[in-house]
């Protein structure tokens, strides 16, 4: 579905460096990283809003250079910022921009708005942030896309709607041909729902792989500090020592055993991000890379 090869992008104060990724269709891809890691820049490249300085991006075998219209026609987008005209209501925005999409279903759009309890006659600037996002989401789904790109959509959703959101997303990818790329800071959702994880830091991808591989590749060790430190140093990513023990993220290999007194668990995405971003030698590595 998505193939990114050696893509770089220079912005005024930020650089996306040599990104390569291959994402097959039919899955939910979680894109995570600290603020300023480059998630939004990468998504802007995927949406065709930015042009890569180097490298190629292919979506469903097409490039923006040759098939911009076709790619946009098969892509639905939900962004944390306002993308619609705030001076108009949800109905007018839908009618105005929906006509460009060959698959736009106006009835479906109105039905989703009703289900999401968004008043389609009220100007968007009078709606809450969450309602504006629901409006974007309804529009994106009503365009019948093959690819959904979502940048921080869930942060402003109430918990009840978040469940509804994820069930729509799961239904969306259920035919095995459609994909979802979602950047979020709410990593609990990704633990439950994502099939694939991409972790970014300072404009680079540091981890990409399916969730099973991710869970097999890392472990969280809890217990006495000196016992954790006895593990192979090259596998120890970061250890955090506290008064009554320590916790660490380590690289794991199938069949590897640990001291019996240590508690060994799978890392959540949040734990992984937390410990990985504090890893030893991170700053030196960044300085010389």
């Amino acid at each position: 579905m998505i193939k990114i090869s050696n893509v770089s992008k220079n912005l005024e104060k930020f650089r996306l460096k040599d990104i390569s990724l291959e994402l097959p269709p039919g899955y939910i891809y979680g894109l995570v990283g600290e603020n300023g890691a480059g998630k939004t820049t990468l998504l802007h490249l995927l949406m065709g809003l930015y042009t890569a300085d180097e490298g190629d991006i292919e979506i469903d075998g097409m490039t923006y250079e040759d098939n911009e219209k076709e790619i946009h026609n098969m892509t639905g987008v939900v962004l944390a910022e306002d993308i619609f005209d705030n001076a108009m209501n949800a109905e007018s925005n839908g009618r105005l921009y929906g006509k460009y999409y060959s698959g736009f279903d106006e009835e479906m759009y109105f039905k989703y708005l009703e289900n999401f309890e968004v008043n389609r006659k009220v100007r968007l600037k009078k709606l809450s942030r969450g309602q504006k996002l629901k409006c974007q989401f309804a529009f994106a789904i009503a365009c019948n896309p093959k690819l959904l790109i979502l940048d921080e959509p869930t942060a402003n959703f109430d918990p009840e709607f978040r469940d509804n959101f994820w069930s729509i997303i799961q239904q969306f990818v259920s035919d095995g041909e459609k994909s979802v790329v979602i950047a979020t800071h709410l990593t609990d959702d990704l633990d439950r729902m994502a099939d694939y994880l991409v972790y970014m830091e300072n404009g680079k991808i540091h981890y990409s792989g399916n969730m099973e591989n991710f869970r097999e590749s890392y472990r969280i060790l809890s217990g006495e500090s000196y016992k954790i430190k006895l593990t192979d140093k090259s596998r120890l990513i970061h250890i955090e020592e506290k008064k009554y023990g320590a916790k660490a993220l380590v690289r794991h290999r199938k069949g590897r055993t640990y001291d019996d007194s240590l508690e060994v668990t799978y890392p959540s995405v949040e734990e992984f991000m937390y410990y990985y971003s504090k890893r030893e030698g991170k700053n030196e590595h960044e300085r010389y890379s």
Binding site: G48, E68, D85
Partner: protein
């Protein structure tokens, strides 16, 4: 996107919500408000004579059409919402759409001004040279694309263009309102201002119009509508 859609979108885009984005401290809004205030003072002061009553009526027509054109510019900025750049269009189609909407907007503004000028005619004296002056000044105003950033190229052009066209039109109305004197010298001066100042300024500004329109075609070069 055909012309019918462009016309439909032009009228759909007139929304009350966008008026709230007008800021009194913006020079263009300030200029419009200032002109209306000055006009009101002028009317209160001079309605006693036949000539000035005529001038007041002509000024009202001119100011109304000018204000409508200004509102139209606010309602239809060159910059588009982000969703516009995500819609299924290729570069050429976006370019065609942006240029066509610009031409349509210019035509709409010229029509508005022309209607104003036609309404003014019965109140004015017969000085045929002044109508082309007003018409050409109005064409220039209709073609302007807003440049609000003082550091942006073309800002000086727009400043002088607005000043010269507005002042010339005000002077032309005064000449047209006065049926007793021919004001030949004034007429010659206004024609010279048009030929030697306004038109060269507009030719200079046209490259900035082209630049702004081309910038609006792609998201990366376009300042998204605020």
């Amino acid at each position: 996107m055909n012309m019918k859609d462009i016309v439909k979108e032009y009228f759909e885009n007139w929304t009350v919500g966008r008026f709230s984005k007008m800021r009194l401290n913006e020079s263009s809004t300030f200029l419009i408000v200032y002109m209306w205030v000055m006009y009101m003072f002028n009317v209160m002061d001079v309605l006693d004579t036949q000539i000035n009553r005529r001038e007041a009526l002509m000024g009202l027509v001119m100011l109304t059409s000018g204000t409508l054109v200004y509102f139209s510019m606010i309602q239809h900025p060159l910059q588009h919402e982000k969703i516009f750049y995500l819609c299924p269009m290729n570069h050429e189609e976006r370019k065609k759409y942006i240029w066509n909407t610009y031409f349509f907007r210019c035509a709409a503004h010229i029509i508005l001004f022309t209607v104003g000028t036609v309404i003014m005619m019965p109140f004015s004296s017969f000085k045929p040279l002044m109508y082309p002056v007003i018409l050409l000044n109005n064409v220039v105003i209709s073609m302007i694309v807003p440049i609000n950033n003082k550091t942006e190229k073309g800002y000086c052009y727009i400043l002088f263009l607005v000043l010269t066209t507005v002042l010339s039109n005000m002077a032309a109305i005064e000449v047209l309102a006065d049926s007793k004197n021919s004001d030949m010298w004034m007429q010659i001066i206004l024609i010279c201002v048009l030929i030697f100042i306004t038109l060269p300024l507009m030719i200079g500004f046209s490259k900035h119009i082209r630049r702004k329109l081309n910038e609006a075609v792609d998201y990366e070069t376009n300042g998204v509508r605020q």
